[in-house]
């Protein structure tokens, strides 16, 4: 594939966020149904079937596409809810479905051959051979790449495959091999892969102790934040733990991914689309990030250096990073 203008794929956890993303300049919206068939199954979040129909209508009126994420793995013996989600996405006129499970990909290919199939990051397809398999066997049109690849590795993959690639551009920094991370399962019995939740809210506890904000996930203390210190999500991969008599972030600090300053490199690497993470975030966040990235993507397409410096206030831990795209530690 060759470089060109990047498509901006934006999150929506509620109909209000969908309208905010469309109005802020999204090219496409991704969302999920209000159940465990998608990897953001948080209380009060996501779309009913009627809300999806209205959302597709609103987005369509502004020329914006809607993608439905059905990217958890069906439970053994009960594929019904996942298949119903695919059927309903097709019936309601979604532009594409984002899938991870090979059984569900096969179901979609056989029953809805005209419905565009994207491969979710949850499938963790991180090399050309894996991607080719999904394309050849299931007619996948786009692959969402895991957040563990460098720009050079992405370029090499794009040289080797014919399929579109989509990369994460802003928001949560998942440092694990997605779809295979069991940290949340270990602590709570629930995971993003099967239940659609990493660090389920009902297992999280915050308390003020000795002037510090203490966050716990299940029976594990994840972090202690000093007065005034920016806080982060209570995920195990971003916890601060004691090892060798020292408290430190063993895996990753609370930080948000931000690729705005490497957009030209991603274009050169042949990337088709940018994904903004944050279906669990509010509509104010969605509007702010989407409009900033709209300007950045348009600037990059004109050959200018993009800038999204004004997004610092909404980042996790008050920090931004280009993550694995520029692996300084190698």
């Amino acid at each position: 594939m060759t470089g060109g203008a990047l498509e901006l794929v934006c999150p929506a956890g509620t109909p209000a966020s969908l309208r905010a993303a469309v109005d802020a300049g999204a090219d496409a919206i991704y969302l999920g149904f209000r159940d465990e068939t998608n990897a953001r199954n948080f209380p009060g979040l996501n779309f009913s079937r009627d809300e999806l129909a209205d959302g597709i209508k609103y987005a369509g009126s502004k020329g914006v596409k809607v993608l439905v994420a059905i990217n958890t793995y069906p439970r053994a013996g009960n594929p019904g809810p996942w298949r119903a989600a695919v059927d309903d996405a097709a019936r309601l006129g979604a532009w594409a479905v984002i899938l991870a499970d090979i059984g569900l990909l096969d179901y979609a290919r056989q029953n809805h051959p005209d419905l565009r199939r994207h491969l979710s990051v949850q499938a963790s397809a991180a090399n050309a051979q894996a991607i080719k398999f999904y394309c050849d066997e299931f007619g996948v049109k786009r692959v969402v790449l895991p957040r563990v690849l460098t720009v050079d590795e992405i370029a090499r993959i794009n040289d080797a495959v014919e399929v579109e690639t989509e990369v994460f551009a802003f928001g949560g920094m998942c440092v694990m091999a997605e779809g295979r991370c069991l940290l949340s399962s270990y602590a709570t019995g629930e995971s993003p892969n099967m239940n659609g939740v990493c660090s389920p809210a009902e297992h999280i506890h915050y308390e003020e102790r000795d002037g510090q904000l203490v966050s716990r996930l299940g029976d594990f203390t994840i972090n202690k934040f000093r007065e005034g210190e920016p806080a982060g999500y209570p995920t195990l991969c971003k916890g601060r733990f004691r090892a060798c008599s020292r408290d430190s972030y063993l895996f990753e600090e609370p930080v948000s991914l931000d690729v705005s300053n490497i957009l030209p490199d991603l274009m050169k690497a042949g990337v088709t689309a940018l994904k903004i993470e944050g279906r669990q975030r509010g509509k104010a966040y969605v509007a702010q990030v989407v409009s900033a990235f709209r300007r950045a993507v348009d600037a990059a397409a004109r050959g200018e250096q993009p800038d999204t410096a004004d997004l610092a206030s909404i980042t996790e831990g008050g920090q931004q990073s280009t993550g694995a795209y520029e692996k300084g530690w190698r």
Partner: protein, 221 residues
């Protein structure tokens, strides 16, 4: 409002308003809260419907710059917002407590700020059942709440003058906010200068320690 040992709220027009409201009779405040709740229910029933799966739909909302708190019972068909005095406990167990300045809480209610960003910056504090907090946040964020408009809508054509008054009030508020910030900066300036000086000394000390040969550092530690 802050108690001994708790973090003090920022100097703001709301904090001053809180002092002014201290002598206000509770029934008058309760009437205003009930009016706001009725307007919310009328215009945004979906907020309460989205919470129907929760076992406990009671929340304690604590605006840290006001001398009272709110006990929100969000269960349909009759959600209620009760005013609680500073030392008064909710009549029923709450799922969670949400603390922040009144302007931050209103911004959150009207979807002008992102709840996670407020939490990361420590402008918002939450305790209790996070599932319930997340559900409430998502339900509120999913509705297009505009508190002033929701309250004035029943007034129909008579709402116009009230809107004008509120606009003028808003301008006065923003002016008072700027003036108070100037006052605050002037009051803390001497202390701030001392803090800056001590911080610079600490930086110098850090640098000195970092530049010491490793063995000497180990011997001294």
């Amino acid at each position: 409002m802050s108690q001994p040992g708790q973090r003090a709220p920022a100097l703001s027009p709301v904090l001053l308003l809180g002092f002014a409201l201290r002598p206000a009779p509770k029934p008058a405040l309760q009437a205003a809260a009930s009016l706001a709740m009725a307007a919310l229910l009328r215009g945004h029933r979906s907020v309460f419907e989205r919470l129907e799966g929760l076992a406990n739909r009671d929340f304690l909302i604590d605006p840290v710059d006001l001398p009272f708190r709110f006990h929100l019972s969000a269960a349909l068909p009759s959600p209620r917002l009760r005013i609680l005095g500073e030392d008064e406990e909710p009549a029923a167990p709450v799922a969670a407590t949400i603390k922040g300045s009144l302007p931050a809480l209103i911004d959150l209610l009207e979807g002008r700020v992102d709840g996670d960003a407020l939490f990361f910056s420590r402008a918002l504090a939450v305790e209790g059942d996070m599932g319930a907090v997340v559900a409430l946040r998502n339900a509120v964020d999913g509705a297009d709440i505009a508190l002033t408009e929701d309250l004035l809508r029943p007034l129909g054509p008579f709402g116009g003058p009230a809107r004008g008054l509120l606009r003028a009030g808003g301008m006065l508020y923003r002016r008072a906010e700027r003036d108070l910030e100037t006052l605050r900066a002037a009051l803390v300036a001497p202390v701030q200068r001392r803090c800056d000086s001590q911080e610079a000394k600490l930086r110098d000390l850090d640098e000195t320690v970092a530049n010491m040969p490793t063995r000497r550092r180990e011997r001294q530690s």
